[in-house]
Amino acid sequence: MLSIHLILFLAFGAVAAAGAINLLVQRHPINAALSLIAVMAALAGEYMLLGAEFVAAVQVIVYAGAIMVLFVFVIMLLNAGVEEQTKGSRVAIVFGVPGMLLGSLLIAWVVLKHSGTGDVAVGALPGAPNVIGQLLFHEFLLPFEVTSILILIAIMGAVVLASKPPVPGGGPAKKVQD
């Protein structure tokens, strides 16, 4: 019997899978980026179904609202055009697409065959913000601090890499340029 939970799961799942396949089919990066955003939004819906409301909100804010904006920004900035087909990409399609089909079939078969895993109800494990916060700042304090250092390093690295190369004759040491 189709419960409303299953219908919602299938709807979000269909959007996510369609977005993922569309990402493969589309030749223009901006279309690929938009289909990835659709995947992320659909996944936020799946998280809601699983009860992880805080994760869902963060998924929308961080992934769809910040990381993907960065991607779209770079695509716009570099004016990336339609992807060219090369010899390498044809070889990759010949081996990659069957490989992917085989891989996903294998995963699906293994998971469905050995599904001694049971069912999950709607909102199976409510991840309220305060509970997640308690976990983050008590049990996972060390990893949390380590990731904060990681992101600090990433900020500095991004600034160094993306800043304009120094003008010849002035400024700090000149990097290797032609």
Binding site: G13, P29, V39, A80, S89, L101, I107, L150, G157, A162
Partner: protein, 100 residues
């Protein structure tokens, strides 16, 4: 009630699409997006397993994955901009020399 295996199959489909995109795409930005797709597939299985084992740690792990993805996106896109500045192409087949 939805069997947890459905969530895992969906997660597997997303991950496989990510791998496939990583293999067949030739634009650096799209390849990078495929990596994000793989991370998203893994996140879904984290949350599904968290619900199954009643361990909120699974949801906390998703945050760490997101932080790593954000850091990776910032640095990776900066590298892409730097590559584009020197090579004036985004096609990875043409980025095959260590030194210009």
């Amino acid at each position: 009630m939805v069997p947890i295996s459905y969530y895992l199959v969906l997660s597997g489909i997303l991950f496989a699409c990510g791998v496939c995109g990583f293999l067949i795409k030739r634009n650096i930005i799209t390849i990078f997006m495929s990596i994000e797709l793989m991370l998203n597939g893994v996140n879904l299985s984290f949350v599904a397993f968290a619900a199954h084992w009643h361990q909120l740690a699974g949801q906390v792990f998703v945050f760490f994955v997101m932080v790593v993805a954000a850091a990776e996106a910032a640095v990776g896109l900066a590298i892409i901009i730097a590559v584009y500045r020197t090579r004036e192409t985004l096609n990875i087949d043409q980025v095959n020399l260590l030194k210009l």
